[in-house]
């Protein structure tokens, strides 16, 4: 665990020196701010729900850009070789990367508290909804980041990793939602169970649902496990 923290810290510092982190951060905040103001005018009421739902969809693009280089850059530059000839396990490497990005993700999320402040100034947002919404965003983020890391273990090209992650996330977050809307049975029922937004909407409504907790945590665990296995696979390929 100590080594995972060492790796996480290196990853986070590397982030702070790369322009990509600032571009992602600025892009995300700009788009979610736009979304926030559009919804406030149209709805005319201080509801947090559309803000969280919008952010959850925006993260489908933002998270893969955060995670794309995590392992593919190590493959490309060859640093994976010095890393994996140090006494660290594949699990520690993946966990370290995961923790490093999660810190960045949570920091980005924390900066959206500004929106909450604006709402408090102009209305009376529900503190329960706010708390559940942020909890949901963190759980959702853990799953997204794990998918991103997995995509990054597959290739030495960052762009390919980003596209693969956007593809996987887009499938569970957007495509499944469309299938539900089409309403063709039995596919719609199945899609409703797989759709990440089904579970996230509970949180953004201010409801805690253990099914959502299980869904996001098991997705995170599954993709982290797959990442460890892909990284190990060079040993038996």
């Amino acid at each position: 665990m100590g080594k995972a923290l060492t790796l996480a810290r290196r990853e986070l510092t590397a982030y702070l020196f790369s322009p990509i982190a600032y571009i992602i951060g600025a892009g995300f905040l700009l788009l979610s701010a736009g979304w926030f103001f559009i919804n406030i005018r149209i709805g005319g009421e201080a509801s947090l729900r559309p803000l969280f739902d919008g952010m959850a969809v925006l993260m489908v693009l933002a998270v893969p850009l955060m995670t794309m280089g995590l392992l593919s850059k190590e493959f490309d530059s060859g640093t994976i070789e010095t890393l994996m000839t140090s006494p660290v396990t594949e699990t520690e490497v993946i966990l370290g990367k995961f923790l490093g990005v999660m810190v960045f993700y949570v920091a980005l999320l924390a900066s959206t508290i500004v929106f909450l402040g604006l709402m408090i100034a102009f209305g009376r947002p529900d503190p329960g909804v706010a708390a559940m919404g942020y909890l949901g965003m963190i759980l959702l983020g853990a799953a997204y980041v794990s998918v991103g890391i997995f995509a990054s273990t597959l290739t030495r090209h960052q762009i390919v990793a980003a596209i693969a992650a956007i593809g996987i996330l887009g499938f569970f977050v957007i495509v499944m939602g469309l299938v539900v809307r089409l309403g063709v049975r039995p596919w719609a029922d199945l899609a409703a169970h797989l759709n990440a937004m089904t579970y996230f909407r509970d949180f953004s409504r201010g409801v805690f649902d253990s099914r959502g907790l299980v869904y996001f945590l098991s997705a995170a665990a599954l993709f982290l496990f797959l990442s460890v296995k892909t990284l190990e696979s060079r040993r038996w390929r």
Binding site: R10, E81, L83, T85, S86, R234
Partner: protein, 323 residues
Amino acid sequence: MIDVKHLTKWYGPVLAVDDISFHVAKGRIVGFLGPNGAGKSTTLKILTSYLPATSGKVTIAGHDVLSDSIEVRRNIGYMPESVPLYPEMRVRELLMFRAALRDIPAGERASVVDRVAERCWLSKPEDVMRRRVGELSRGYKQRVGLAEALLHNPPVLVLDEPTIGLDPNQIRAMRELIQRLGEDHTIILSSHILAEIEQTCNHIMVIAGGKIVADGTPEELRQKVLGPSQVMVELRGSDPSELAGAVKSLAGVRNVTDSRTGDWTRLLIECDGKADRRAEIYRLVSEKGWQLRELRHTVGSLEDFFVQITYEQNMQAGQRMAQ
């Protein structure tokens, strides 16, 4: 210290390492010499447990690279060929990070990093340790790579092409450093430059086409490689066959081949053993009243041997491609 038995590695359909076995005793500096694509880097990657072997057994300091990989890594300091480093990190920061991964207690890291930096000439211009790795010249990067490999003071050092890309002064400095390190580390390094290996290592393994084709101390290797001594002579004054016949009748001459260059005849004279027959040949030439324009004793060198090996490997590769 390093024990390799029947190591074989296939990359898909390509055979990179072909059933090699060797043993490296403690405290030796062993050089892998071979043309590009001979299987040197692959072998080193297997030794460091980065890549698995297709078959065979490798133990480092008594630990198996497959079943006891973490323990093997603790005993090895490895500098890969391209010296991959994180460009955005500062030198000190990078070495501190590596030291943490190497299980060096937090309290000792700073002093360990300082010691290693001094050893690899990183501490001299004061600012090097504060510079970003990405801004460093090739020579400095190489030193940082070596410093990384030395942090945990490993009994075994594996250096893949440690002098590639360095200027002549840096090469000499690196060579001296490796020799100094050889006093208390077992070192295995690779190069495709003969002079490099000849000067640094006390044991050479020549690898070509995935096989060890020669093996020994530089002296032993030279003895093995040198064929019978040859004298080359160019003369005129009679027809080639007569010239050749006359020379062949000299004592200690084993074989003579003749060829024409203009109106001169060139004779390649193979002598018994290491004997030098130039004096006798000259006497014969002056007795017969022939004209002489060149008389030379040629000795096969390690260089020739190496060139020949490289040539053969390339020929085989060419044949495989053609098939």
